[in-house]
């Protein structure tokens, strides 16, 4: 996939667990796991906004463009 999700990196930096994060942003742990493992096909602006708010970061800290050959 061309867009990578670096959620675990920023979660480790903020020292927040998956359960706590899913509770705070209001999504299920299963959906957070899909997001963390790069299985998601898309992310809603509302989810991204909540992630940025809770993790105190920018969308660019979570999402990364990976060039494909």
């Amino acid at each position: 996939m061309a867009i990578g999700v670096n959620l675990d990196v920023i979660m480790a930096k903020r020292k927040i667990s998956a359960g706590e994060l899913s509770d705070k942003i209001g999504i299920t742990p299963a959906n957070l796991s899909i997001l963390k493992n790069n299985k998601a096909k898309a992310i809603r602006f509302s989810t991204l906004e909540e992630l940025c708010k809770v993790l105190d970061c920018q969308p660019g800290d979570i999402l990364e463009y990976i060039k494909e050959d």
Partner: protein, 148 residues
Amino acid sequence: MWNPNKSVIASSICTKITIGIVIGIILTAPYLVNGYVGYAAKNPAVIRPLLVTIYACAVPGLIAMLSLNKLLANIKKKAVFIEKNVKLLRRISWCSFAVSGILFVSGFYYLMFVFIAFAAAFFGLILRVVKNVIEQAVAIKNENDFTI
């Protein structure tokens, strides 16, 4: 009160009855064909080709009915837009085309079969389009399910 759930149950019952009828026809085909040839005063030489046609059509017919039964069981479990259902629809469609082919060849000794062959091919074509629609719906559902 009539509702979609009862409709699925009614379809499921009809499918099971049809499976029973197909099995019944397979088991009693020689008697049925002999009776028909005697009643309609047909040439006894058609008995063997008629039996070949019936048995050849029974195989894809039975596969199609069993697939339909599985499809309805999935719908009952609320699993509608899944890859398995696309496969089942594709199988039923191919069964219709197979029956159509068999009946088209059988049209060489009994012309009426050619018309039924066209009907079966038309049915197969409709199912193929429905399969394409469901295939797209599965892709959209997957995208929706994986949008977080």
